[in-house]
Symmetry: C2
Subunit: 223 residues, 2 copies
């Protein structure tokens, strides 16, 4: 599908500060600036604290929490020149549920670390009008990580298409940055609040009930 956009794909290890700087510079030179920084990539490891390998612990903290700190920070000089600068990450609301920490402490630390970076930067850069927000899916999303690392084809059928996240992100990123920062939202909730009512379009296989994602209250009605 041709969505009509133009991309500049750059390989980047977000643990490498010099590589981050180079990628920011290349993107800015190619497009003439940076209006939006989306930190989408994240590493996953759902082992318990007593089991996780130290090198996996380090990998997910460095990619998830540290990467989310360093990439937007390196983009600041260019975001400051934008008319509507947005930083968007995929991370959960800061709900302190002990079971979500006990099940996979290292992973939760890394994802809540991302959210806390947004929480702090939203406030630090509020006066400059740069928006920092976090979006999280209410249900599992049909992506490779779900198919290969989590629940296989069965979980894919209980998931929604990535388009729901794209639609939610688009609504967030077209809001006025100065008036919309420091928010933590679930995709479906955001779209409902914006008046959308059809969610069946996203459901991979409506014969199967939707799977509520981690970091979302499992007692929420699945639509």
């Amino acid at each position: 599908m041709d969505a009509g956009g133009k991309a500049l794909p750059l390989l980047l290890d977000v643990r490498d500060d010099i590589a981050i700087k180079q990628a920011v510079t290349q993107a800015a030179e190619h497009f003439g600036g940076i209006n939006i920084c989306i930190n989408n990539a994240s590493a996953i490891s759902l082992a318990k604290a007593q089991d996780i390998e130290a090198k996996r612990f380090d990998l997910i903290q460095q990619i998830n929490m540290r990467g989310t700190f360093m990439v937007p920070r390196a983009s600041l000089p260019l975001l400051r020149k934008s008319e509507n600068p947005h930083v968007l990450v995929l991370s959960p609301p800061l709900t302190m549920r002990a079971d979500w920490f006990a099940e996979h402490l290292a992973h939760t630390l890394s994802k809540y670390g991302i959210s806390m970076v947004m929480f702090g930067m939203a406030e630090e850069f509020r006066a400059e009008g740069i928006a920092f927000n976090a979006l999280w899916p209410k249900t599992t999303i049909a992506i490779a990580a779900v198919e290969f690392a989590l629940g296989g084809d069965a979980m894919i059928r209980r998931s929604r298409r990535p388009e729901i996240m794209a639609d939610a992100a688009h609504r967030m990123l077209t809001r006025k940055a100065r008036d919309y920062s420091g928010n933590f939202v679930l995709d479906e909730n955001l779209l409902r609040a914006a008046g959308q009512t059809d969610f069946a379009q996203y459901h991979i296989d409506p014969e199967h009930e939707l799977e509520i994602d981690i970091f979302v209250d499992p007692d929420l009605p699945a639509e």
Copy 2:
């Protein structure tokens, strides 16, 4: 002053997983086991997100958050053999105040990281009866970091003696671990709840008003 205890001082860089294991083994061999693991040490850097050097960011995350994850974890086999195993750290309650993140994001991430490690481990190891708790001082404490890094002699006079933290820690560590885990407490609050009423004994210079510590509601009455 001879407090009557016996110590085995060991140099340890908590970023070094092999050194952690060796220190745990040495302590266990010397004392015949480990009943209590107190993570006291922490690195401080109060720069804003836009200013902090990447290597300072890494240092405080690795010592504070990662060290608190790795040291108690390495002590688990010995804590499991103890009759009343306790892990205690010095870190704040998980109060999400945006200003505390905006002022010194990297430091807050590292301290809240410590608290989230306790929050998760308390739940992960609850059935095994190992206690994980966090203590935080309501006021600044008269220690070298306050004198040399924060507010000099003037702030020392507005601080309390370290003994208030020792008294509070003693009360926490003598509770039954199985019934007391996952708590985040302020020193004065804990001692008041235990019936203590004299706090002037801790005040370095009662002529000066006490200084409320960071991560504590500044609107709290200073005693």
